[in-house]
């Protein structure tokens, strides 16, 4: 009774009615008249432009490359011309360096022919270099390139494929699973070779199990096993997925083995398969546009740098939109402006009407019900942390109650009957402790 169990404790079940999910089909979005491409990468790497203003480029031509190190390169998202290289306001009110790019109206947008990579004939290092050169970043929590470079030194024993959406209502992973099976199989073979892994585990939610099983059954045999988990938020978070899998399938792999394996999203794997085999560069990405303020919510293949306002308008944005959240409804940030480009890694937006946003009554005092403790998947003590935050006891929050292990999943604030803004308080505390970006991403065991 007093020992910690291996299973995923905590988490919440989100009801479907409260959360309309966008349809799974992936549609192509048209080109905005002006695309803005930020010269920065998630994680802080800077890019240096290699083109001049006025240059005419074909789709996929190099625009900018890493100033130092190995950050993925940036390519022209369309056939068009470089309009301006300068600064622009970003979503958070700051300013970022961007390349403004104007696609040629009426251009065919065909890719120039390029030699693709053959899985069998290529070396691991070649594949890793090609992934970076293609401009593939992966999502913010994935640490794709760190995993790849590490595996060149020390091969990974297995690869964990994440088919579970990190934050609802987006269903990007499921959308990719249902419509990009060929690319997924290709990407998986590239990644197994690059990482030196002998097998791959695919975690999906129960509803997607059938599509996932087809993935391994069709065509050539892959060292892939599919494991479906009942829906439970936030088991798709990379720090919790190993634990959720180890609890449900103890005979497949040990928790230590799972926690040590690179964990990559299906959308990233499909991107790798698509681009490496055809020799193309990253020019667009699958973005989930969801929410009741959209007439045509869905998953769209959006050219990089498309202004958010343009993308939402294409998806049928209602005039009575009251808020737009970047990310999902549990972890995402409400945006102050729609005049921000969709950069690599920005993969989900939710547009809400006034009635869809939860009422925010003034918080009541904690009634010590303990619901937050039961909901916390990291097994922290949110109530105590909240009380300490109210008294600005930042150091005690970290030293006695392990604030840095909080993954900001929002479960505690979701269930709090007193509506205490716990996650917000924890972010303030982390900022005060000088460790704002230090989200805990290491797998928790």
């Amino acid at each position: 009774m007093f020992a910690s169990r291996p299973g995923l404790s905590g988490g919440i079940r989100l009801s479907g009615e409260a959360l309309p999910r966008p349809p799974l089909a992936i549609r192509q979005m048209s080109y905005a008249p002006l695309l803005s491409l930020p010269l920065g990468r998630p994680g802080g790497a800077r890019l240096l432009p290699v083109v001049r203003e006025g240059a005419e480029l074909r789709r996929g031509d190099l625009l900018a490359r890493a100033a130092d190190g190995c950050a993925p390169a940036l390519h022209a998202p369309a056939t068009g011309s470089v309009l301006r290289i300068g600064e622009q306001a970003d979503a958070n009110g700051g300013r970022v360096a961007v390349i403004q790019f104007a696609p040629f109206p009426g251009g065919t947008q065909e890719y120039p022919a390029a030699p693709g990579l053959d899985v069998e004939a290529s070396e691991a290092a070649q594949i890793v270099a090609a992934i970076g050169a293609a401009g593939i970043c992966g999502s913010a929590t994935e640490e794709l390139h760190a995993h790849l470079w590490q595996a060149l030194e020390r091969p990974a024993s297995m690869l964990l494929l994440n088919g579970i959406e990190a934050d609802p209502p987006s269903r990007r992973q499921a959308a990719v699973l249902h419509s990009q099976a060929v690319e997924l199989r290709l990407g998986l073979r590239f990644l197994l070779k690059a990482l030196g892994a002998r097998r791959a585990l695919l975690a999906v939610e129960e509803g997607d199990a059938a599509a996932a099983v087809l993935l391994s059954a069709e065509g050539e045999s892959l060292p892939l096993s599919v494991h479906s988990l009942p829906p439970r938020y936030p088991q798709g978070h990379p720090s919790l997925l190993p634990r959720a899998l180890a609890a449900s399938f103890p005979d497949v792999a040990s928790l230590a083995e799972l926690a040590g394996a690179p964990c990559l999203e299906l959308a990233t794997v499909a991107e790798i398969g698509l681009l490496l085999a055809s020799g193309r560069k990253l020019t667009d990405q699958v973005v989930a546009l969801a929410g009741p303020a959209l007439r045509e919510p869905g998953h769209y293949r959006v050219p990089l740098g498309t202004p958010l306002r343009f993308a939402l308008t294409e998806a049928g944005l209602d005039a009575d939109v009251a808020g737009v959240v970047h990310g999902g409804l549990m972890r995402g940030e409400a945006l102050a402006t729609l005049d921000t480009p969709i950069a690599p890694g920005m993969t989900a937006f939710v547009a809400l009407r006034a009635g869809d946003l939860p009422a925010q009554p003034p918080p009541l005092p904690c009634i010590r019900c303990g619901d937050c403790i039961e909901a916390c998947p990291a097994q922290l003590h949110p109530a105590q942390l909240g009380l300490l935050a109210g008294k600005a006891e930042w150091r005690a929050m970290q030293e006695q109650f392990h604030l840095d292990r909080c993954i900001e999943c929002g479960c505690c604030a979701h269930v709090c009957p007193s509506r205490i803004p716990l996650v917000q308080a924890f972010r303030v505390a982390k900022a005060a402790l000088g460790r704002l970006p230090a989200r805990s991403l290491e797998p928790l065991a």
């Binding site: 939109v321 039961e374 979701h414 803004p421």
Partner: protein
């Protein structure tokens, strides 16, 4: 177009403090209806007085910004207090109990969420200490004739005055002790269905259990507390009854008698004065259960449940410290 800024999460489970309080009242409805049926006008007057007193006291002791939640929580507190009092208790004592519960039990400890003991329990215990005679003699026989038309004289006694006609059951302590402790040879059916002398809402253990099952089902209380509390009592009584059947009643009689069911299901589960963790809840219930048996079977008072819960709640800060959840650490790093 203006965009509203808000902080994640943008979804809420929808259960508020007021919702919890409402569930409490719903769970107590069956036993309330039964109490009014069994004790008539006397029960109705007791319950209404307790509720009104608590609501007024909540209004007096509230802090700004918590009006609605404070008043929502006064309703179940008043109901619980009324249900735990003898039905023919002078109404001015009932009102005093309500005021004490909300002001001494709650407002002085910081209002909503601050109480160290369940407020209804505080009111009940102060009355028990202040008016021992009334609290042991103001009982009524259930389903007595004329209960629906007349109030017992003792209910309407003037403040600080002895009731004109005395209390209904002069040998209350004796008959109560008999009916409560060894079951007095009472059939188990009578005990569980409420055909006995007892506090307004404590007589029907079955209906109380039903209410608690509802609360556990909608997850408005932690089911582990009544489970472990009642389980401990049952286990100890099985043991004691086996050793000395003449002195100690069996498990079913012990569970069905006195204030145990009300206390275990509705007082010991008060979120603010019970532990926050699952492990703490098990421990809390077991501790109170052990104290109940100790005080009832070996103590001098006829009923020990109230004091057992009081002592159990006093230990909660320690239980919370012992059972503080241990966070998950990245694999390969040891727990702190």
């Amino acid at each position: 177009m203006t965009l509203r800024l808000s902080s994640a999460p943008h979804l809420h489970a929808g259960r508020s403090v007021s919702w919890r309080m409402l569930q409490m009242v719903i769970a107590l409805l069956p036993v309330t209806v039964f109490a009014v049926a069994a004790f008539g006008l006397a029960a109705l007057a007791t319950l209404l007085t307790a509720i009104v007193a608590c609501l007024l006291a909540a209004r007096l002791g509230r802090r700004s910004g918590e009006v609605q939640a404070e008043e929502a929580s006064a309703l179940p507190t008043g109901l619980l207090l009324g249900l735990s009092l003898p039905p023919a208790l002078p109404l001015w004592m009932v009102a005093l109990g309500g005021v004490v519960a909300m002001l001494l039990g709650r407002a002085l400890f910081g209002g909503l969420g601050g109480q160290v003991f369940p407020p209804a329990l505080v009111g009940r215990i102060v009355l028990q200490a202040a008016f021992p005679l009334a609290m042991t003699q103001a009982w009524l026989e259930p389903f007595a004739a004329g209960r629906a038309t007349a109030l017992p004289a003792s209910s309407l006694a003037l403040p600080l005055m002895a009731p004109a006609g005395g209390y209904p059951i002069a040998d209350g302590a004796a008959s109560l002790a008999a009916s409560r402790l060894d079951g007095g040879g009472l059939p188990l059916g009578d005990l569980w269905l409420g055909q006995v002398v007892g506090a307004t809402g404590e007589t029907s253990a079955l209906l109380l259990l039903l209410g608690a099952l509802y609360l556990a089902w909608v997850r408005a209380i932690d089911w582990r507390i009544p489970c472990s509390l009642l389980g401990t009592v049952a286990l100890l009584h099985l043991l004691l009854h086996g050793l000395d059947p003449a002195r100690h009643p069996g498990a079913l009689a012990a569970l069905g008698s006195g204030g145990l069911m009300l206390g275990a299901c509705f007082l010991a589960t008060d979120p603010s004065s019970s532990p926050m963790t699952r492990r703490g809840a098990w421990l809390h219930g077991a501790l109170i259960g052990g104290l109940v048996v100790l005080l009832r079977q070996f103590g001098g008072e006829p009923e020990g449940v109230l004091y057992a819960i009081l002592l159990g709640c006093a230990l909660v800060p320690h239980i919370d410290r012992w059972t503080c959840p241990r966070p998950l650490m990245p694999s390969g790093r040891a727990h702190p």
